[in-house]
């Protein structure tokens, strides 16, 4: 279980649960980390050094880069903040009526998207920055992902909505999750063909956006992140999915502490890393797919837990062998 030569732990990890890790848009040097300790931290991964840090009044549930020097973050304080790393200053952009669960930037449309437990998705124009619209969702937003100019939203009640970011006047597709349990994470394929959806019940579905029957036929789901121990099968939430930006393969991280890399088109698992100390809360590939950031952070899945394991971020250099489809 020790560290491997191609992996190391970040110094000065957040003092409480890690909610999200995100790599910068053009380099694998900077990693943005939001945490339940109310901070958003910018790490220099190369130097293994905490470069910058700012705080919200309350725990932060998600963050994203807009460009190399700006990031957005939101959390339990309902406030969306933008932070400028150059000037080292943060600004409140706007609020939701309930905690902000997801923050994403869509470069194609140049818009920041937030999803909240107030059952809305809001768009924000990063140029001003100001609100560019609020769009009601059928239920609390648990996860969202942008896919070119499309937005896939996963809400409580296992609902999935596909929006067109260029025309938010109507919902492009309404779907129900093909998994029977609460939606945990949705991430879109970099090739924009579809998305991967995970549930709290150790399962991942691969789905296609194209509603034609031929495409829909290809969708499938599989079980993962389950451990059999003493005749009991423990089924863990799949908390995080991260796509390799070039190969269209993806990593899944579960509360079992494992990270798997999958080739979704060929239905193959490419590899599994060693078991991390506790739940995988978030995963992120760098822009070129050479580095995977792994946040191992207890998520209160198990109420009987006596002590809370430490929160750590592992930076792993991954090879093509681990991430490229074997053709």
């Amino acid at each position: 279980m020790g560290e491997t030569p191609n992996e190391f732990q970040l110094n000065n990890p957040p003092a409480d649960g890690i909610s999200a890790v995100k790599f910068g848009p053009n380099s694998s040097q900077f990693l943005l980390v939001s945490s339940w300790d109310t901070s958003v931290c910018l790490y220099d991964v190369v130097a293994n050094h905490l470069r910058m840090r700012y705080n919200h009044p309350a725990p932060v549930l998600d963050c994203c880069f807009q460009d190399a020097v700006h990031c957005y973050s939101g959390g339990l304080d309902n406030i969306l903040k933008v932070y400028d790393f150059n000037t080292n200053s943060g600004t409140n952009v706007g609020t939701h009526d309930a905690p902000i669960r997801c923050v994403e930037f869509c470069p194609e449309v140049n818009v920041v998207v937030t999803g909240s437990w107030d059952s809305t998705v809001k768009l924000w124009d990063p140029r001003t920055p100001c609100s560019a619209g609020s769009f009601s969702q059928p239920d609390k937003v648990y996860t969202l992902s942008v896919c070119g100019d499309r937005l896939v939203v996963g809400t409580a009640g296992r609902r999935i909505l596909v929006w067109d970011l260029r025309n938010m006047g109507y919902v492009q597709q309404r779907r129900e999750s093909s998994l029977k349990y609460q939606t945990r994470c949705i991430r879109c394929f970099p090739n924009k063909l579809g998305y991967v959806l995970s549930s709290i019940e150790g399962r991942v579905a691969v789905e296609y956006l194209d509603p034609s029957p031929e495409s829909q036929k290809k969708k499938y789901a599989f079980k993962c992140h389950r451990i059999k121990e003493n005749g009991v099968e423990m089924i863990y939430p799949v908390n995080s999915i991260a796509f390799h930006p070039l190969h269209n393969t993806f990593a899944s991280g579960g509360s079992d502490g494992f990270v798997n890399i999958w080739d979704g088109f060929n239905k193959k698992r490419l590899c599994q890393f060693h078991r991390y100390p506790t739940s995988i809360a978030s995963l992120a590939f760098s822009h070129d797919g050479s580095v995977l950031a792994i946040a191992s952070s207890y998520m209160f899945e198990n109420e009987e837990m006596k002590y809370v394991p430490e929160d750590n971020i592992f930076i792993r250099n991954v090879s093509d062998q681990e991430t490229k489809p074997k053709s």
Binding site: D37, D77, D97, S119, G157, R158, Q182, E233, M234
Partner: protein, 387 residues
């Protein structure tokens, strides 16, 4: 597995009654003969697996297991090797065999290599494998048996015969079944008192590898490298007993779930807070007990966590509406307190959610103020802005 006493029988195929020397071969046979997809020739692992594969992959219905005897072609029964054979068929088969060839000897149930992975001491296998060669030197309680490696079909031995010689082998250091064949047994030990615990003359030894191998573990085996993702999920969803599967293809099931979840949510939206709907327990697809490592309420881990007092205290706008919450001093500087400590038990989830929902609405912080909004009979809603 109701199959323990079956020790003395050779593995046989439920679908066609053919017998095999080795369960491994039997499984190969089943995959090739009975579980092969007629369209893409993919070899599946079980009958249900095959039918689901065809349904999902080829949209083709397979309602009979190919090459099976009449009455034995049910695709819903999950059989893998000797696993899963209905009890009565087992008994019947046993009876038949007993009648037919009661005098033949040689318990020859070759175990497959899977056992090694089960962490069982391989010794029971050794009995089996080691047996044939040794008899000459071993005076058993019965007469020595001729070496008879591959048993003729129908070979059914008096259960005790092989036992004698086997006894001594128990204590030997574990070794791969492969090597066993060469093990000569010192004859003299043979009838010695120290016997392996499961050596019981006259009683077939318990089938050691079976119990350790839960019925489905085999089915789960295809797990990864082999593109089995689809199969797996399908296997699960297809077989009637399991309901855990995600099954886009069964709109009915899906509809039910939605219906239930939406009713649940609408209830919680209108009623006083009763907490979130409860997640139904997953049913195990593998016959194992399964445990969902998630709180019971059907809310996200983050919502649950956010309801912990240590975080609630950080949320601006906490107000007095939430009875049951200890009065909280607002806005302690972040990252204070001991984040590693597990906070005391949070108040009921519903409360928190409601509190959250409410305090959002007021805009300006209204700490410790009664909610001004809709009068005293305002019904807080779970999760804020739900409609």
């Amino acid at each position: 597995m109701g199959r323990k006493k079956k020790k003395q029988l050779k593995p046989w195929c439920w679908y066609c009654n053919r017998e095999f020397d080795d369960e491994k071969i039997l499984i190969q046979h089943q995959k090739a003969k009975h579980f092969k997809c007629h369209i893409c020739h993919k070899k599946l692992y079980t009958g249900p697996g095959l039918s689901i594969h065809c349904m999902q992959v080829h949209k083709d219905k397979v309602d009979k297991v190919p090459n099976a005897l009449p009455g034995r072609n049910n695709t819903e029964i999950e059989i893998y090797g000797m696993e899963g054979i209905p009890e009565q068929d087992l008994k019947e088969h046993e009876k038949q065999k007993a009648n037919k060839s009661g005098t033949k000897s040689g318990a020859q149930d070759d175990d497959d290599d899977d056992d090694d992975s089960n962490g069982l001491p391989p010794m029971p296998n050794q009995f089996m494998n080691g047996m044939p060669p040794m008899p000459t030197s071993v005076p058993g309680p019965y007469m020595p048996q001729p070496p008879m490696p591959p048993l003729p079909p129908g070979g059914m031995m008096g259960p005790m015969r092989p036992m004698g010689p086997m006894g001594p082998m128990g204590p030997m250091p574990p070794m791969g079944p492969g090597q066993m064949g060469h093990m000569g047994m010192p004859g003299p030990n043979m009838s010695m008192p120290p016997r392996p615990p499961n050596f019981m003359p006259g009683v077939p030894p318990p089938m050691p590898h079976k119990p350790a191998m839960p019925p489905q573990s085999t089915a789960a085996k295809p797990l990864f490298p082999s593109a089995a993702a689809a199969i797996q999920s399908t296997e699960v969803s297809g077989s009637p007993k399991m309901s855990t599967s995600m099954k886009p293809t069964f709109p009915a099931a899906a509809a039910i779930t939605t219906a239930s979840s939406s009713t649940a949510s609408s209830i919680s939206a209108n009623a006083t807070i009763t907490g979130a709907p409860v997640i139904k327990k997953p049913e195990s697809s593998s016959g194992l007990t399964s445990k969902l490592m998630h709180p019971d309420e059907d809310i996200s881990l983050e919502e649950k966590r956010a309801s912990l007092p240590k975080y609630q205290s950080l949320i601006p706008g906490k107000n007095t509406i939430q009875q049951g919450m200890p009065p909280v001093s607002r806005g302690p500087p972040p990252s204070q307190g001991n984040p590693r400590m597990r906070p005391p038990v949070p108040p009921p989830q519903g409360m928190m959610a409601m509190a959250q929902g409410m305090n959002m609405q007021g805009g300006p912080p209204m700490y410790n103020m009664p909610y001004p909004g809709s009068g005293s009979n305002f019904r807080p809603q779970q999760g804020g802005g739900r409609y």
